[in-house]
Amino acid sequence: MTMTAHDVNRRGSVRDPKRDLTEPAPVRWLLTAVSLSFLGLFIVLPLAAVFSQALEKGTALYWEALREQDALDAIRLTLWTAAVSVPLNMIFGLAAAWAVTKFRFRGKNLLITLIDLPFSVSPVISGLIFVLLFGLQGWMGEWLDASGIRIIFAVPGIVLATVFVTFPFVARQLIPLMEAQGRDEEEAALVLGAGGLQTFLKVTLPNVRWALLYGVILCNARAMGEFGAVSVVSGHIRGATNTIPLHVEILYNEYNFTAAFAVASLLALLALVTLALKSFFEWKLREQLLRGNSEAHP
């Protein structure tokens, strides 16, 4: 389930010199070509198309689309949403991972399943549940309306839907790693006289930092890119409740393709940066696990 140094060694030595243990060369070339064509058609081609379409009419129009007031408002709202939802889910992820991995209690597996639940709820339903709670016809609709609090078709609804869809990201990265690391180091720190918070900050946090960053970066990518759930609760009010993905949709539906792809290219760049950072954190995590293993067995 979790990565061990054993796996890492194996990852390094993917090629076996013994010829009989692999397919004949023409078969290898054919399989590689088919698989690369598949990835090219379904991943590289769309990615290239985003940038090609965005820059089709020149860089002047590209920059203009990004500097337009509605685009700037959308960027600001997206940054806001991520700035609220990512830290919330990070704190939750740390608390949940601590409770689940450092202690034994009944119903633990059920709790882990429930934490993962938002991943299996479709985006549209993720938005719908908040409309049912806070919308005008919802449970709290009348009361909210009377108190003048707006959640649906307003920023709080967008943040709530985003928090819901990105809920498990940090927790699910931390739980397997902290489970594998066990309790020994924390217990040693306590025996040596460290306080609980000190132990967490000085022992646990450094041990999980790469997995934590990995979870945070994925959480952030989803928070900034979520479309379905946010679309249901947003109301698409320009300059007020439009996030970047919703702005892309509006521009596209207005046949303003160049501007739509210009704004979309920002999200594509975010995706590429996310992938690069993700690979880097994965590499660091593997390195840390290897080192931990060699320290334990010198």
């Binding site: 194996r10 243990l21 949940a96 209690f105 985006p123 339903i125 719908l128 928090v163 979309a264």
Partner: protein, 277 residues
């Protein structure tokens, strides 16, 4: 001190962290999901049944589940191949290709949607090649299948990769020594180990495709009875203020995804047992 001893916990913080976890989980996930279930409890069984089985809704299930099945099958075949190639073969740029497999996880669905719609439109890169040959992708079910294939692509590859890495080369050597040729080794030794993970990846891709919205609506054409997916129908009902209709369909889809989640858990337990054996 007495408290920790009573609970046999050496480490501190059990109460606060578990308490916060349960509080936050209830607030963000459990109570909102419960709202969906209770919202439909106001309907009679007959109302519920007729609103989730009306012809337009039934057609949307066919389009959604049918396309998701096709996309997951494509991913099962090519994902298995890709995982094999990425683990066993060496070629230039392999690390970049490996990282790119995760792109559908990182690229927002709306971006995937407008891009595919443009690429497969009549004068797009792919559309201009396909349409003169009489193959229409944009605004048909084929477009839905393509969008679902893209967003489900990483699942089979990522589920299978660690399993292939873990296959002991000794097993293959043993098969070779016993006189099996390469094809027999693949069929009788390698494939049985890989099947549970392929099925897990298939189920994950299928589940993701069934709930997908953003990448599909731009390319689908969204014609009722023909190319309208269930997620879009929920939104259409919401926009018409038919909250009950929307909620009833959403509940059906939610139950479907929980059944899939259960199936995935069973499959994962199966592949773990196989890995330990």
């Amino acid at each position: 001190m007495t408290r920790t001893r009573r609970r046999h916990h050496v480490l501190p913080g059990f109460g606060p962290t578990l308490g916060y976890t349960l509080f936050y989980l209830s607030l963000i996930v459990l109570i909102p999901l419960a709202a969906l279930v209770f919202h439909t409890s106001g309907m009679t069984w007959g109302e519920f049944a007729s609103s989730v089985t009306s012809p337009r809704v039934a057609a949307s299930y066919r389009v959604t589940f049918g396309s998701a099945l096709a996309a997951a099958l494509i991913n099962a075949v090519f994902g298995t191949l890709t995982a094999w190639v990425l683990v066993r073969y060496r070629f230039p740029g392999k690390r970049v290709v490996d990282a790119l497999v995760d792109l559908p996880f990182a690229l927002p669905t709306a971006v995937v949607g407008i891009t595919l719609a443009t690429v497969y439109s009549a004068n797009g890169w792919m559309g201009s090649l396909l349409e003169p040959r009489g193959i229409r992708v944009a605004f048909t079910q084929a477009g839905i299948v393509i969008a679902m294939t893209v967003i489900g692509l990483p699942f089979v590859v990522r589920t299978l990769q660690p399993v292939i890495e873990d296959i002991e080369r000794e097993t293959e050597e043993a098969a070779l020594c016993l006189g099996a040729d390469r094809w027999q080794t693949i069929r009788h030794v390698l494939l049985p180990v890989m099947i549970p993970s392929i099925l897990t990846g298939f189920a994950l891709a299928f589940a993701r495709a069934v709930g997908e919205y953003g990448s599909i609506i731009f390319i689908a054409g969204n014609m009722p009875m023909v190319s309208e997916i269930t997620s879009l129908l929920i939104i259409t009902k919401l926009e018409q203020y038919d909250y009950r209709g929307a909620t009833a369909i959403a509940l059906v889809m939610l139950i479907a995804s929980f059944v899939l989640l259960l199936a995935i858990n069973v499959l994962q337990r199966w592949s773990r047992r196989l890995a330990e054996a």
